[in-house]
């Protein structure tokens, strides 16, 4: 963990470098927020109870709705996941893989906590 280096803000790794999302204080541990990326895409950004940040694509691949940030965060076997708020499929927050359907995954972003 290198919280100190982030000056209290959360950053995502995009193709062309780090992108600053918001103050860490804006996030409630265990919940997410949606962030608009420079190219118009949306990321769902979460922190867990230890303060570690995660980010995945905000689009729920099962419904096509941009709602992943509104799902509930949980952990199983030490790995954090989010359950889609619509049909409740769970996605690993580090890899973006769907835990309920092997064939589905969403993009996961590196955050400056996940190095």
């Amino acid at each position: 963990m290198n919280d100190d280096k982030t000056n209290g803000s959360i950053r995502l790794r995009l193709d062309d470098g780090w992108f600053e999302v918001c103050e860490r204080a804006r996030l409630v541990p265990g919940r997410g927020v949606a962030a608009l990326l420079p190219d118009g895409r949306q990321a769902a950004v979460f922190t867990d109870r230890t303060g570690r940040a995660y980010a995945i694509d905000n689009r729920d691949p099962f419904t096509g709705a941009y709602v992943m940030s509104r799902g509930l965060l949980g952990s199983a076997h030490g790995r954090a996941f989010v359950a889609s708020p619509l049909l409740k499929q769970r996605f690993d927050l580090e890899t973006g893989e769907c835990l309920d359907d092997e064939e589905v995954s969403v993009q996961a972003y590196l955050t400056d906590h996940s190095k």
Binding site: V28, T63, R70, R90
Partner: protein
């Protein structure tokens, strides 16, 4: 015979016939690794590799011959199988162990497997060889029928059995006026009895087919091509095309010619391992006469035989564990739009068996169940409504948990909506989308596991409730992977230890592996609800904010496109014109879709997250409160107009409904709560379908509990009679708090009342007679809720900190989410549905 049985050492296996069973046999050989050790030669008569004969008719509805193929691309090459198509076996020399094909090629074998299927029986009537006469067995037959039909106007099918009806449906589909000629006095004589035949006849005639039963075919007439038929009653039928579907006969000629034993009425005689009288020769599928004396004209028994033989060849000594001793002859007609099914002992052949029959001539429904004197289900016939086939067939041989008389009744006439899944045997299909049986589900531990391993529940989702009932409650009855306690135990822990924090509960009372973690989507909202019903303050404050499901988190219901709906409380369904106008104005100004709900209030749909606060600010200013449509909490207390206006009313039902709704609004509970108050026994408010329902009497109020509408309706039970206002409220207080304390997560009062030990009587003892001495505590808890109640939305719109989370984007608070879009419909909006399936293109 002393010849040693051939075994895995066999060098060459020759298979005659590449039909459905032949191909299944090849697959089983490959699965068991026999293809690695032995040379496998296949001789097929047809010009194409094995295809799905069962779905042959789907060719007429657009399925191509290639799509019907049963041989996966590359299968033959991968396993080094030598497949010779269009070259049937002509003769077998058992002494030399060779097979000679029509082409003259000779193949030596160590093991010979005959899978030659059947041929359609064509009765020896004059004219049967005229142009325009067909049988219905192969793709080539269908291609020929299709071509000939282009010049024909009328068609006739000889034979009114399962296949004949299928063929008749196909002819009708080709645009021909179609006749069915059946010698027996009814259609499908092998499957249905007289009653079923009558129902079937009506339905088929209603579909525009002409049925002639009880008459034989005497002659097919015509010069060179068919122009009609002479029937045994002397009548003449004009027709341009005839399809014979008068049954099939096993293709046993090859076997006869080489001296193998065949049955009196055909079929190659085999033992329980599908071996003929020559141990080097097996016969499988429709050409075999099984050891139970039957020739099976269905594919599933053929598959079983194929696997049994492959097994024998794979096991070293040629003595397999698997054997074939008989099979189920259940059938379901898959065409023509008629529901017909028969299973088990459909004709009541067993001694002492009894029939339970339901008929409805008008709608062409006939259902018969055959039961033994002790109630065991032996079989049945279903015509016109085969809905229950999936449940009943697997129950054959068992005593159904519900009397047969009830099982045949149509839904709505006292029939059970569904049998409990516990009652089903392992082979019952639970998920019909993915054909997953109960036996495949019960060994698994959790829903995600079931979805992953069997795909059950990932289609239409209608089986999910049943699956959950079949699963162990996370093995040990615990709430989820995080807690080994039930919801009730967690409630008691939180109550007794005055715990008001989820994290504390998880870290001190969770499963060891879950402590210190983040919990999960199951226990978080459940614990949030417990904490809220124990007086936890505003649900968006502090730690609680992280626990709520998304609906509670935004105090609104999420919709399929990520927008939200807004449901203001309208207690008892009573509303002033001014308030109605406000709702109309708010909806108009923000472009929301409005709809009257089934709960006597108004739902406003299509708000983006960032619009919720402004909309609610206006509603709150006009005196509206949250309707908690998003919460597991009180929804509505429905009312009828009652004594004030209605000439029958005996109490003021509207006032009581409003009082009750205001008393229990915001009460968090294991599942949602619905209520109603009717002004007299006519029950216009449908109180008996609610979690708690009140019906006015001349002397006061009757209280009903545990009712439910929805998918599993339940009539409420009477808890107490002729109550005064105060008595009524006190009793409901106790009832609700007792439910909240002891119910499982997401368990409606109806399910809880059925599950809780002692049932209604126990609940009565506790809440009416205070048998546990807890009524004072229950009342105090409710008093605490009533005095602490604050409107969540009023508190939210006044608090900048809470409002801060109502943004589409954390880093662009003013920007609306561009993916939430609408299109017009009937003068309002509807979601423009998100595009699915473009994943690949977008990458």
């Amino acid at each position: 015979m002393t010849t040693p049985a051939p075994s895995a050492a066999a060098r060459t296996i020759v298979v005659v016939g590449h039909g459905m069973v032949g191909q299944r046999f090849l697959e089983a050989l490959a699965e068991k690794g026999v293809t690695d050790r032995a040379r496998v030669v296949v001789l097929g008569e047809e010009p194409r590799p094995a295809y799905d004969r069962v779905h042959l008719t789907s060719y007429f509805t657009g399925t191509t011959p290639d799509e019907l193929s049963m041989v996966e691309d590359g299968f033959i090459e991968k396993y080094g199988i030598e497949l010779h198509l269009g070259d049937p076996a002509r003769s077998v020399d058992r002494a030399a162990r060779t097979v000679t094909a029509r082409s003259g090629r000779v193949f030596a074998y160590d093991v010979l497997v005959l899978a030659t299927g059947s041929y359609p029986f064509v009765p020896p009537v004059p004219g049967r060889d005229l142009a325009g006469c067909f049988v219905y067995r192969t793709i080539e037959d269908l291609l020929a029928i299709e071509e000939y039909a282009t010049t024909a106007a009328t068609g006739a099918v000889v034979g009114g059995g399962l296949l004949g009806l299928e063929a008749a449906g196909a002819l009708q589909g080709l645009g021909l006026a179609t006749h069915i000629v059946e010698f027996a006095p009814r259609l499908m004589p092998a499957q249905v009895d007289a009653g079923g035949g009558a129902a079937l006849l009506r339905t088929i005639e209603n579909m525009g087919l002409s049925v002639h039963t009880g008459v034989g075919t005497q002659e097919i007439t015509g010069e060179r091509a068919v122009d009609g038929m002479l029937l045994s009653d002397g009548s003449r039928l004009q027709t341009d095309l005839v399809v014979f579907s008068a049954g099939v006969r096993p293709r046993d000629q090859l076997a006869r010619d080489c001296g193998l034993a065949v049955g009196e009425r055909g079929g190659i005689v085999v033992d329980e391992h599908c071996r003929t009288c020559d141990p080097a020769v097996y016969a499988i599928g429709e050409c075999a006469l099984a050891c139970d004396g039957k020739v099976y004209g269905l594919v599933a028994p053929g598959y079983e035989m194929a696997v049994a033989v492959a097994d024998a060849l794979a096991s070293g000594d040629g003595r397999p564990e698997k054997s074939f001793t008989g099979a189920d002859m259940s059938t379901k007609l898959k065409l023509l739009g008629v529901d017909v099914a028969s299973f088990g002992d459909a004709h009541g052949a067993a001694e002492g068996s009894l029939d339970v029959v339901y008929t409805d001539a008008r709608s062409g429904i006939y259902k018969k169940l055959v039961v033994s004197p002790d109630g065991t289900l032996l079989g049945g016939v279903l015509v016109g409504d085969a809905e229950m086939y999936g449940t009943l067939r697997p129950l054959t041989g068992h005593v159904p948990p519900i009397p047969a008389e009830q099982l045949v009744l149509p839904a709505g006439l006292g029939a059970p909506v569904a049998l409990g899944p516990e009652a089903l045997p392992d082979e019952a299909v639970i998920c019909s989308c993915h054909n997953v049986t109960k036996g495949a589900i019960t060994p698994l531990g959790s829903l995600p596991e079931v979805k992953k391993c069997t795909r059950a529940g990932t289609g239409c989702g209608s089986c999910l409730k049943t699956i959950e009932k079949l699963l162990p409650k996370t093995g040990d009855g615990g709430l989820c992977d995080c807690f080994a306690h039930t919801r009730q135990e967690l409630y008691e822990i939180a109550l007794a230890l005055r715990l008001r924090s989820y994290q504390q509960l998880l870290d001190e009372h969770g499963r060891p592996a879950a402590r210190g973690g983040d919990g999960c989507e199951i226990c978080k909202p459940a614990v949030a609800s417990i904490l809220a019903s124990l007086g936890g303050g505003h649900i968006l404050d502090g730690e609680q904010a992280a626990l709520q499901d998304t609906n509670d988190h935004f105090l609104a219901n999420i919709q399929r496109n990520g927008s939200y709906s807004i449901v203001p409380r309208i207690p008892g369904g009573e509303i002033t014109p001014d308030k109605l106008i406000v709702i109309g104005e708010v909806a108009r100004d923000h472009g929301l879709y409005t709809k009257i709900t089934g709960g006597q209030r108004i739902d406003l749909f299509g708000a983006r997250v960032d619009q919720l606060p402004v909309i609610w600010a206006r509603l709150v200013a006009a005196g509206f409160e949250s309707g908690h449509a998003y919460g597991k909490s009180l929804r509505t207390v429905k009312s009828c107009v009652g004594q004030t206006w209605c000439r029958y009313g005996v109490q003021d039902s509207v006032r009581m409904a409003i009082d009750l709704e205001l008393r229990y609004r915001g009460l968090r509970s294991p599942h949602k709560l619905k209520a109603a108050v009717s002004g007299c026994a006519r029950e216009c408010a449908e109180a008996q379908s609610k979690d708690f329902g009140v019906i006015a009497t001349a002397n006061g109020w009757n209280l009903y509990v545990g009712g439910n509408g929805g998918a599993t309706p339940r009539h409420a039970d009477l808890l107490a009679q002729d109550l005064t206002d105060d008595e009524l409220v006190r009793l409901i207080d106790r009832f609700l708090m007792f439910y909240i304390r002891t119910a499982d997560r997401l368990e409606r009062t109806s399910v809880w009342l059925e599950r809780i030990e002692g049932g209604l009587q126990h609940v009565k003892d506790v809440v009416v007679d205070d048998s546990l001495g807890i009524c004072a505590e229950l009342e105090a808890l409710m008093a605490g809720h009533v005095s602490a109640y604050r409107d969540e939305w009023a508190e939210t719109v006044e608090d900048p900190e809470r409002l801060a989370r109502f943004v589409s984007f954390v880093n662009a608070p003013g920007t609306p989410d561009p993916t939430v879009r609408f299109v017009p419909e009937r003068g309002q909006i509807k979601p423009e549905l998100p595009v699915l399936a473009l994943e690949v293109a977008a990458r």
